[in-house]
C-alpha cells in the first residue's frame, strides 16, 4: 500500500504541490486526473524518489521511504516519452531491472519472455528499440517497468501522443495487464476516458 502525506514542493517562488495527500491500496489502480501544470508529474517523481519534497512523507506498506534513494524503493515509473535505453535491444531493456538485481541469466530470459508475451511483443525481443513504432515503444516501457516486480507502478501520462485508435487499444491492454498482474498502480493523465478505462478509482488534483 502506497501513502503520500502532506507533500509540499516549491520551485523557487512557485508552490507546485501544497500539502497533497494520496493513498493507493494494494492491488488498486488509481488515476490522478487534472489539467497540465498542476503538479501531477511532480507528485509522481516525489513518490518515485526522483525529486525531494520540501515537506511530507511517502510510505510503502507502512515503511517510511521518504529518505530512501530511488533505486532502493522498488517503485517503478513508466515515463511519458518511454525513455527506453537506445543502446539496448527490447529484451535487454525489459530485463534491465532484473539485471540490476543480479538475477541469473536464465531467470531473466524467462521473465522477459513472459512479459513480452503479456504485451504481445515476443517477436521483437532482439530488435533495437530505436526501430520501434510509438505504440510498440510504450508496450516495451510498460513491460520493462513491470519486470522487476515493483511494489508500486507509477505511470506518467503513458498513452500521450498516440492516435485515437491505437490509444484506445493500448488503454484496454494496459487495463488488462494491470489487472492480470495485480499491480498497485498510480496513473497520471488528463484524459478522463482513459482514466475510467484503466483505473479503479479516480482522484483529482
Amino acid at each position: 500500500m502506497l501513502a503520500a502525506s502532506d507533500i509540499t514542493v516549491r520551485f523557487g517562488e512557485r508552490t507546485v504541490l501544497d500539502c497533497v495527500s494520496l493513498e493507493v491500496a494494494s492491488g488498486e489502480v488509481v488515476a490522478l486526473l487534472g489539467p497540465s501544470g498542476v503538479g501531477k508529474s511532480t507528485l509522481l517523481r516525489v513518490v518515485a524518489g526522483l525529486l525531494t519534497a520540501d515537506s511530507g512523507t511517502v510510505s510503502l506498506d507502512g515503511r517510511d521511504v521518504t529518505m530512501l534513494p530511488s533505486h532502493r524503493r522498488n517503485i517503478g515509473l513508466v515515463f511519458q516519452d518511454e525513455q527506453l535505453f537506445p543502446h539496448l535491444t527490447v529484451a535487454e531493456n525489459v530485463g534491465f531491472g532484473l539485471r540490476m538485481q543480479r538475477v541469473g541469466r536464465t531467470e531473466i530470459s524467462a521473465r522477459v519472455q513472459d512479459l513480452l508475451q503479456l504485451v504481445g511483443l515476443e517477436a521483437l525481443a532482439n530488435l533495437h528499440v530505436t526501430k520501434l513504432s510509438g505504440g510498440e515503444a510504450k508496450r516495451v516501457a510498460l513491460a520493462r517497468s513491470l519486470a522487476p516486480r515493483p511494489a508500486v507502478l507509477l505511470l506518467d501520462e503513458p498513452l500521450t501522443g498516440l492516435d485515437r485508435e491505437l490509444h484506445d487499444r493500448l488503454a484496454a491492454d494496459l487495463a488488462t495487464v494491470l489487472r492480470t498482474t495485480g499491480t498497485t498502480a498510480l496513473l497520471v493523465t488528463h484524459d478522463i476516458d482513459e482514466a475510467t478505462t484503466i483505473a479503479d478509482r479516480i482522484e483529482r488534483l
Binding site: A48, G49, L50, T52, P69, S70, H71, R72, R73, N74, I75, G76, L77, F79, D81, Q83, F85, P86, H87, F96, G97, R99, M100, Q101, T130, R144, S145, P148
Partner: protein, 541 residues
C-alpha cells in the same frame, strides 16, 4: 528544380579554380613536395635499415606509445568529473571555469612545459611522469568539451528510468551513461592520443634527454647529430603509425550516433550532495588549471630563494656571463615572434579564406580540397619543418635564409584551423539568401560576393587571431628552420631553459610569462567570436 536553378544561376565556371589556385599551389609546393622529398630520402638503399637499426629506437617507440596511452587514460579519467560538472550543472562562474579549462589547451607547448618546470620539483625534471602530468593539464579541455557536449544532451530521464529500475549510481554510470557516451569517449581519446603521441614542446622540456618520444628523437637526430636521413625515416614511420591509429580508431567510431531525445538541460545543484560536488569539483578543476601558470609567473620573480626583478631586468641582454652571450636576445625574439605571427596570420587567413570559399562554392567536389588542406593538420609539425628544410636547400629553391620561410611553415600549421573555422559558417548560409540576392538583381557572382564573402569577413578576422596565436607558439617546425638572429620566443625559451644556471632559468620563465600573456590576450579576444570546437560565432552588428 535543382537542375533548372543550376543552369540559370550558375556561378561563372572560373570562380572555383580561381579561388582554389593559390591554396592548391601552396599545398603542393610547401607540403606535398617536402613530403615527397622525405620519401625520396628514405627510399635510398641502406637508409631505412640504418635508421631502424639505430640503438634505442625500439625504446623510443615503446615510450612514445606508452606515455601517450597513459596520458590519454589519465586525461580521460581526470577529465570525467569536470566534464560532468560542465555538462549537467549551472553555477556561478561556469563561464570562467570553462575558459580556465580551455585556455591551456590553446597555449604554446613551451609555455606549458615551462610552467611545469617551474611547478614540479627538481626530482621530477627529465622524468616520464612530468611529461604525463603536463599532458593531462593540456588536454583536459578535450574531454570536457567533447564528452561534456555529448553528456549535456543525455536526457536526465534516462538515468532516472534506470534508477527506478533499481540501478545504483555506479550501475547507472556503467550500464547507461558510459555506453551512451561512447562515441564522444572514443573521439576524445583519439584526439588526446594523437596530440600526446606527437607532443614536442612538453616532452622536450620536461622529458629531457632521457625520455624522448619519436617526435623529439626526429628533431634530435636532425639538429644535434646531423643525421637527416635517420630523421626522415623516423618521420615517415611516425606518419604511418599515425595513419594507422586514425584509421583503426575511425573504424571503432563508425557506430551511428544514437538519437538522444529528451531534456538534458543543465540545472542548478539542488541537494546538498550535489552542491558539494559542484563546489569541490569546480574548485579542484580551477586550481589544477590555474596553479601551474601562476607558479610560472611567480618563479620568474624568484632568484636565490628571494623575490627579485633581476631576471626581468636583464631580459633585454643576452649575456650569460661577462662577454659571453646566450646566442639569442630574448626581447629581440619577442619582436621576431610578433612579426612572424602577423605574416603567418595574414597568409593563413588569405589562403584559408580562399580555400574555404572555394570548397564552399565547389559543392560536392569540394571535399578533395577539404581533405587535402587538412593533411598538414595530421602531419606532425616536426615532420613539416624537416620536410621544408631538406626540400628548399638547393638553388634555385634555396630558401633557408629567406625571412618568410618560417612564417610560411607556421601558416601551414595554422591554415587547417582557419578552414575548419570558416567552413561551417559558409555551409550555414541558407541557399535562399543567394536566391534573394538574385531576385534583387545580383548576378550569380555578385550574389556570391554579397552573401558568402560578406558572411566570412568577421569570422575571418577572428581566425586571424587564432592563426597568430598558433604562430606565436609554434615550436616543432621552427626548430628546424630557425636561423641566427631570427629566433622566435619558443626557441629562445627553450635555449634559456636548457642552461643549468638559475638566472637563465628565471629569464626563461619570464619570457614564457610574456608569451603566456600575449597568447592569452589573443585567445581571449578571439574566443568571443570563435568557438574552440571549430564553429564560429558571427558577432551581431
Amino acid at each position: 528544380m535543382d537542375r533548372d536553378r543550376a543552369a540559370l544561376n550558375r556561378r561563372p565556371w572560373w570562380l572555383v579554380p580561381a579561388l582554389a589556385a593559390a591554396p592548391v599551389a601552396g599545398l603542393a609546393l610547401f607540403y606535398l613536395w617536402p613530403l615527397a622529398t622525405l620519401l625520396a630520402r628514405v627510399v635510398q638503399p641502406g637508409s631505412v635499415s640504418d635508421a631502424l637499426g639505430a640503438p634505442g629506437l625500439a625504446r623510443v617507440m615503446w615510450f612514445t606509445f606508452w606515455q601517450a596511452l597513459v596520458s590519454t587514460t589519465m586525461t580521460m579519467v581526470i577529465g570525467f568529473a569536470p566534464a560532468y560538472l560542465m555538462a549537467r550543472f549551472r553555477f556561478r562562474g561556469r563561464a570562467a571555469l570553462l575558459a580556465m579549462v580551455t585556455v591551456p589547451f590553446m597555449l604554446p607547448t613551451v609555455v606549458v612545459g615551462a610552467a611545469f618546470l617551474a611547478l614540479l620539483p627538481a626530482s621530477w625534471h627529465g622524468t616520464a611522469r612530468a611529461v604525463i602530468v603536463a599532458h593531462v593539464f593540456f588536454n583536459i579541455a578535450v574531454v570536457v568539451r567533447l564528452v561534456g557536449a555529448m553528456w549535456a544532451v543525455l536526457p536526465t530521464d534516462l538515468t532516472a528510468a534506470a534508477r527506478t529500475l533499481g540501478a545504483t549510481p555506479s550501475q547507472v554510470l556503467r550500464f547507461i551513461v558510459l555506453p551512451l557516451l561512447r562515441p564522444a569517449l572514443w573521439a576524445a581519446s583519439t584526439v588526446v592520443f594523437l596530440f600526446t603521441f606527437t607532443s614536442f614542446g612538453a616532452v622536450k622540456l620536461l622529458g629531457g634527454a632521457a625520455n624522448p618520444t619519436l617526435e623529439v628523437e626526429i628533431a634530435r637526430r636532425a639538429t644535434q647529430l646531423g643525421d637527416v636521413d635517420g630523421a626522415a625515416v623516423l618521420s615517415l614511420l611516425q606518419l604511418v603509425i599515425l595513419g594507422a591509429v586514425v584509421w583503426w580508431s575511425s573504424r571503432w567510431q563508425r557506430r551511428a550516433s544514437l538519437h538522444l531525445a529528451g531534456d538534458g538541460a543543465a540545472r542548478v545543484a539542488r541537494s546538498r550532495h550535489e552542491r558539494r560536488f559542484v563546489a569541490i569539483t569546480g574548485a579542484l578543476t580551477a586550481s589544477v588549471m590555474v596553479i601551474p601558470l601562476v607558479v610560472l609567473v611567480s618563479r620568474s620573480f624568484r632568484l636565490g630563494g628571494a623575490w627579485s626583478l633581476n631576471a626581468w631586468r636583464t631580459l633585454g641582454s643576452s649575456e650569460v656571463r661577462p662577454g659571453v652571450s646566450l646566442g639569442v636576445d630574448p626581447l629581440a625574439s619577442l619582436l621576431t615572434s610578433l612579426r612572424f605571427a602577423v605574416v603567418a596570420a595574414l597568409i593563413s587567413v588569405v589562403i584559408g579564406g580562399l580555400a574555404s570559399l572555394a570548397i564552399g562554392a565547389a559543392g560536392r567536389h569540394g571535399s578533395l580540397l577539404d581533405v587535402g588542406l587538412m593533411l598538414p593538420l595530421g602531419t606532425s609539425a616536426v615532420t613539416i619543418g624537416l620536410g621544408m628544410l631538406i626540400t628548399f636547400d638547393t638553388a634555385p629553391f634555396d630558401w633557408r635564409a629567406r625571412w618568410w620561410l618560417i612564417p610560411l611553415g607556421h601558416a601551414l600549421v595554422a591554415t587547417p584551423f582557419v578552414v575548419r573555422a570558416l567552413l561551417p559558417v559558409l555551409r550555414s548560409i541558407p541557399a535562399d539568401q543567394r536566391a534573394a540576392a538574385a531576385t534583387l538583381g545580383a548576378s550569380p557572382l555578385r550574389a556570391w560576393l554579397a552573401v558568402d564573402v560578406r558572411r566570412v569577413a568577421l569570422p575571418l578576422a577572428a581566425s586571424a587571431g587564432l592563426a597568430a596565436a598558433i604562430s606565436l607558439g609554434e615550436f616543432g617546425a621552427t626548430t628546424f628552420l630557425t636561423r641566427a638572429g631570427r629566433e622566435t620566443m619558443p626557441i629562445a625559451i627553450g635555449r634559456l631553459l636548457g642552461r643549468a644556471g638559475e638566472i637563465p632559468r628565471a629569464q626563461g620563465f619570464a619570457l614564457a610569462t610574456i608569451l603566456l600573456a600575449t597568447c592569452g590576450l589573443i585567445i581571449g579576444a578571439v574566443s568571443g567570436a570563435v568557438r574552440p570546437d571549430g564553429r564560429v560565432h558571427a558577432r551581431s552588428k
